[in-house]
């Protein structure tokens, strides 16, 4: 309990809230890093997932690639990229984007896949154009699973973003690495607590978001596990 008390004391020490290494500053950096990575990964994974879901093409490739991406050790990738592009922000953004792509891709893709083909067929038969089917049928119906993918990606990024501090001066990871170097366990534990709190906060936000995007009328009996459909296909 001693370490914990020290960590709490560290968290409430006003001197830790000033300067470039201020806690508030680091929290914002961490959050910004997380969200930007999420945007990068989404820009790649969502259109790709929708394309696969809508056309049914490239499914095997996507499942395989996503599976491979999932098994890449992030720290290894981070080190590798940092060795080639140097110290700085590029390496952590690249490494974590790679980490975040599989769940978002899976969410976007399984979201489409989970829609009853008969619903889409009927929409076409009554005279919806391809664009209208995507916008008015496929998007709203796939949103809950996509949101699940974003949630899962966000939680992975926010936790793993601590590693960004390994090669760049950014985020809550600074406290962990500085604390480790100086054997300052209060700072290390304090930093960890902040990461956990941030993760819980984002989790809470996504819980609400996910509820909001489930179309009423389909709320009951919908699959929410984005990997369920994905791993089934991979087998």
């Amino acid at each position: 309990m001693n370490y914990f008390a020290d960590a709490v004391a560290w968290l409430f020490d006003p001197t830790n809230y000033v300067g470039s290494n201020a806690i508030g500053n680091r929290v914002l950096e961490h959050l910004g890093f997380t969200l930007l990575t999420l945007v990068f990964a989404s820009v790649i994974a969502i259109p790709l997932g929708f394309f696969i879901g809508h056309t049914g093409r490239g499914r095997g490739l996507a499942v395989g690639t996503a599976g491979a991406f999932r098994s890449i050790p992030t720290l290894g990738l981070l080190t590798l990229v940092a060795l080639s592009v140097g110290i700085g922000l590029t390496a952590p953004y690249a490494a974590l984007t790679v980490l975040a792509i599989p769940p978002i891709l899976a969410g976007a893709y399984t979201g489409f896949e989970a829609i009853d083909r008969a619903t889409i067929d009927a929409a076409r038969a009554v005279g919806m154009s391809a664009g209208q089917i995507v916008r008015k049928v496929e998007l709203p119906l796939s949103l809950p699973l996509l949101m699940g993918g974003l949630r899962s990606a966000t939680l992975q990024i926010v936790a793993t973003a601590t590693l960004a501090a390994y090669v760049a001066d950014i985020g809550l990871g600074r406290f962990l690495f500085t604390g480790l170097k100086n054997l300052d366990y209060a700072q290390m534990l304090g930093g960890s607590i902040l990461v956990i709190l941030l993760a819980l906060l984002l989790e809470g936000i996504f819980t609400v978001l996910q509820k909001l995007v489930v179309p009423r009328g389909v709320a009951a009996g919908r699959p929410t596990d984005i990997w369920a459909g994905f791993t089934k296909l991979a087998r």
């Binding site: 009853d116 008969a118 005279g127 009328g217």
Partner: protein, 310 residues
């Protein structure tokens, strides 16, 4: 009027679903395609709104070759009702019905008012308008499906086994509704079913199909029943098994019509027989009904085996 001119459909995998099909479907009448599963009924139906394009041949609607029309626009002018309603699960009943008119630019308010009227037309209570499809029974969903099909006031209504997934009582109800609707609205209905009784009940023109979309016989229900073209048709309509050959049987409870297997087929219009009312006769005594062909048991005079229904 819908005309098929030597229409053939071969799917990319090589399946020949429809071969050299030619037929005229008269306006304001109900044409029923009936056949076993895989006989090409759905393919024929879906070629009318270009959900499927023929490999060769052409289809005309009122003299215009639909191959030259834009599919989306064509479909918006044709009502389509399918087996499991195909409603959008994330839209309320009323919005499902209003979907296509709104796509065509009808203002939301007007489209919804019209949708409410359509619920009346198909015999649905307006209180269901704000429900989601998952909150309706199967029969109610099909009614919504019909309302949606009618929403653009199309001349043509395509129905693909629309009552196939509901229980027999609801099905009978929906069939009667459709007959009523058809009397009131006079659409050109194209109806697909595998149920010959449904085909005879609803169809002005019945098309019996063999595998490959080959026409086994076309005609009114009466023509087909009276003169099955061949053994295949006879078997399909049940004439060979004596299913269509009925005779009258008197029970103490009243008169019933029984088929050649002794299965209960129905009752004659006009109520109970005097003999039953008097209660003086034996429990089962048979008289051959004059207007139906006599079954084997009618001549023998012996009590029908299994004369007791089920």
């Amino acid at each position: 009027m819908i005309e098929f001119h030597s229409v053939t459909k071969r799917f990319p995998d090589g399946t020949l679903a429809v071969e050299d099909f030619s037929l005229v479907l008269p306006s304001r009448k109900t044409t029923v395609f009936v056949g076993t599963s895989g006989s090409g009924k759905t393919t024929l139906l879906r070629m009318i709104n270009r959900m499927v394009d023929p490999t060769s041949g052409s289809i005309d609607i009122d003299g215009a070759d639909i191959g030259t029309l834009a599919p989306v626009k064509l479909r918006r002018g044709i009502g389509y009702v399918m087996q499991n309603s195909g409603l959008l699960p994330h839209r309320r009943v009323i919005d499902n019905v209003a979907t296509v008119p709104m796509l065509q630019g009808t203002p939301k308010k007007k489209a919804r008012e019209d949708a409410l009227q359509l619920l009346d037309t198909v015999g649905l209570d307006r209180s269901l308008a704000n429900r989601y499809p998952s909150q309706l029974s199967g029969g109610q969903q099909q009614r919504v499906g019909v309302a949606r099909g009618l929403a653009v006031n199309p001349n043509i209504l395509l129905m693909d086994e629309p009552f196939g997934a509901v229980d027999p009582i609801v099905r009978a109800e929906l069939q009667q509704e459709l007959l009523r609707l058809q009397r009131e609205l006079g659409k050109t209905v194209v109806f697909v079913t595998h149920d010959i009784d449904e085909a005879f009940l609803l169809g002005d023109q019945v098309v019996i199909l063999r595998t490959g979309g080959l026409i086994a016989q076309v005609g009114s229900p009466a023509e087909i029943l009276a003169n099955p073209a061949d053994d295949f048709v006879a078997a399909f309509v049940g004439a060979d098994r004596g299913k269509r050959v009925l005779h009258l049987e008197s029970h103490s409870d009243g008169d019933v019509l029984v088929d050649a297997d002794g299965r209960l087929a129905g009752v004659l219009a006009g109520g109970t027989s005097p003999s039953a009312a008097a209660g003086a006769q034996t429990a089962t005594e048979e008289t051959a009904a004059p207007e139906v062909k006599a079954g084997p048991f009618a001549e023998s005079g012996a009590p029908a085996q299994g004369g007791d229904p089920r």
